[in-house]
């Protein structure tokens, strides 16, 4: 009888927690879609209202009124703004960002082809940052009173103060100008079919991007680990005869990694901005470089498409991280 009640209770608790999880993820997803629509509306408004007449911008000041009229109707600029936005949104949600008004290229195709440079860059940089930052952060936390721990933490403090582009310039000076080990910039025209030279040209950019990110991650890993070390369960684990490292590995790691995972979600925005800068420093033909060029020639439709796509990527990753956090940590679901 008792046992039965116990299992029942357990079962209902389990169902309850699953229900919670689904509810949590659905809620997060709604938030993701909502914020995406809001953000693209903002970008749309900024880029459509402020710059003035897009048809004029395309054809120049001397354009005849007839030509202007024709361009306007061709691109649907006569419609009310809200209709224009809804049209754009419905196309965009199916992956069609339209064509550039200035050059006529297909924006989605352009972004996809440039992503073959940007995504590997971001992936490589995050991998580098994670591999170095988390062990170093934990190590410096375990030794936070000793000189080695303090030194590592001081270096990370320096790391977040260094501007990304400067790191890039310095790395180029050392490894391309002085020692000529890696190319100073550019990307093979052949793309990933010649993958070794592609990787070679991504080494310096990825390292540049990883340094700032790594320093930030390390600080979070360190302070999260210090929090864990001061918990009572950690002291108990030590009292059973485990060394600090063992106790951290067995009992502390999962707890100290949770805040690090949640920081990853916030950092994706900084990573993408960092990628824009790094692509500029190393002249990599990626999404960031394209965006900067479009801004300088005032290709508003393309800027809008690129910014919307980038924002969507940022929001999607932070949604994913939230969902993962919900899976890992029942507390973060309950608090919602």
């Amino acid at each position: 009888m008792m046992l039965e009640m116990h299992t029942q209770l357990r079962q209902s608790r389990k169902n309850n927690s699953l229900q919670n999880l689904v509810l949590y993820i659905v809620r997060r997803f709604t938030l993701f879609v909502g914020s995406l629509v809001a953000a693209s509306a903002l970008v749309f408004l900024l880029l459509r209202i402020l710059p003035g007449d897009l048809a004029q911008a395309k054809l120049g000041i001397d354009a005849s009124p007839d030509a202007l009229m024709q361009t306007r109707s061709e691109f649907g600029l006569d419609d009310p703004l809200i209709l224009q936005f809804l049209k754009w949104l419905s196309h965009a949600s199916r992956g069609d960002l339209g064509v550039s008004m200035l050059t006529g290229v297909n924006i989605t195709q352009e972004i996809v082809s440039k992503a073959t440079v940007t995504l590997p860059l971001i992936g490589l940089a995050s991998a580098l940052a994670l591999i170095f930052a988390i062990p170093l952060g934990m190590y410096s936390a375990l030794n936070f009173r000793q000189r080695k721990g303090i030194t590592i933490s001081a270096v990370s403090q320096l790391g977040i103060a260094i501007p990304t582009f400067w790191v890039g310039v310095i790395l180029v000076t050392i490894f391309s100008v002085k020692f000529q080990i890696f190319p100073s910039g550019g990307f093979p025209d052949a793309g990933w079919s010649s993958w070794s030279s592609c990787l070679e040209s991504l080494v310096l950019p990825a390292t540049t991007l990883a340094l700032g990110q790594g320093a930030m991650l390390m600080r979070f890993a360190r302070s999260a680990t210090i929090d864990v070390i001061q918990q009572e369960y950690f002291r108990t684990a030590r009292a059973t005869g485990l060394t600090r490292g063992q106790a951290l590995q067995i009992h502390g790691m999962r707890n100290s990694l949770l805040p690090v995972v949640s920081v990853l979600g916030m950092q994706i925005a900084t990573l993408i901005v960092g990628a824009i800068i790094v692509e500029h420093v190393f002249a990599l033909p990626g999404i960031g470089q394209m965006l900067l060029q479009d801004v300088s020639i005032r290709d508003y439709t393309k800027v809008q498409g690129t910014v919307a796509a980038t924002t969507a990527a940022v929001f999607f990753v932070s949604f994913l991280i939230d969902a993962i956090l919900g899976l890992l940590n029942p507390k973060s679901r309950a608090s919602q």
């Binding site: 938030l31 909502g34 914020s35 809001a38 953000a39 970008v43 900024l46 880029l47 402020l50 710059p51 936070f144 303090i150 403090q157 320096l158 977040i160 103060a161 260094i162 501007p163 990304t164 582009f165 400067w166 310039v169 310095i170 180029v172 000076t173 100008v177 302070s223 210090i226 001061q230 916030m266 925005a269 900084t270 993408i272 901005v273 824009i276 800068i277 500029h280 420093v281 965006l291 900067l292 479009d294 801004v295 300088s296 005032r298 508003y300 800027v303 910014v307 980038t310 924002t311 940022v314 929001f315 932070s318």
Partner: protein, 272 residues
């Protein structure tokens, strides 16, 4: 000093860069904009302490003048951020539940938008300028400040002394003035120095990309961009503006950390 190294170094570094900026208002070794082709890319010497750039402009003078641009940007960003962020944060915490909710979501959305990306869009519309950079950076940082402020105010509002004040029939304004602001003041200071650090990094980044401060106003970011073209001939010129940025940003970061430690005794022992 031994007890709070961060605060000590933070104050020193911030004081150093502020002094340099102030000094540049009255005196620089040369006119920062003076072009002198005879001494193009000169090595550091007594005449030009940090050498000259490709146009023969004195690097030290440009650094000094650049610090003015940088600190003015940081100052403006901090003022806008604090007034906007703190008002929103306190306002959201005090308002009815539905508005509070909306505010939280809107702040989340703005926070998720990459600030520099936003600045690039603004620069596309308005053309690059220091003001555009300031506006874009401020919007991003004030969202962060609003989030922290709202959270902290909510904690204070739940405390017993606020309940007591309410029982004594204090009005909302008085509660904010007498109970909330004194309790979040320290955190606000930390937020402000963090915003200054972010502003300096972001401004130099935007100027480096050609989307921030426009010529002829000297700026560290642009100095770096122009020196990058002459790396093969003289890599040292690229070193100085970077060091200047690091010193200033590090100063503000350490200042914030130091104040946090000074005011939170539990941190003092563990996380120095």
């Amino acid at each position: 000093m031994n007890q709070n190294r961060n605060l000590f170094f933070g104050i020193c570094l911030v004081a150093f860069s502020s002094t340099m900026a102030l000094l540049s208002v009255f005196w620089t070794p040369y006119d920062p904009l003076e072009i002198n082709p005879d001494v193009s890319l000169a090595k550091p010497s007594w005449a030009h302490l940090l050498g000259t750039d490709v146009l023969g402009r004195d690097v030290l003078s440009n650094l000094l003048a650049g610090s003015r641009t940088t600190l003015i940007t940081a100052f403006l960003v901090v003022i806008i951020t604090m007034s906007l962020g703190v008002t929103t944060g306190i306002g959201a915490a005090l308002s009815p539940r539905w508005f509070n909710r909306t505010a939280i979501y809107s702040i989340d959305i703005v926070l998720a938008l990459p600030a520099v990306l936003f600045a690039i869009v603004l620069a596309a519309i308005r053309g690059p300028s220091t003001l555009t950079a300031v506006i874009a950076i401020s919007i991003a940082t004030s969202a962060a400040v609003a989030q922290v402020t709202r959270r902290e105010v909510a904690v204070v509002l739940n405390s017993d002394f606020v309940l007591a004040a309410k029982a004594c029939n204090s009005n909302k304004l008085k509660i904010v003035q007498k109970h909330i602001v004194p309790n979040i003041r320290a955190s606000l200071f930390i937020q402000a120095s963090g915003a200054a650090a972010i502003a300096i990094l972001a401004e130099s980044t935007l100027s480096y990309l050609g989307l921030g401060t426009t010529p002829p106003a000297p700026s560290w970011g642009r100095m770096l961009a122009s020196s990058q073209q002459y790396l093969l001939i003289d890599p040292v010129v690229a070193l100085w503006p970077g060091l200047a940025i690091i010193i200033t940003v590090l100063g503000f970061n350490l200042l914030g950390d130091g104040v946090r430690e000074a005011l939170d005794p539990t941190l003092r022992k563990s996380k120095s």
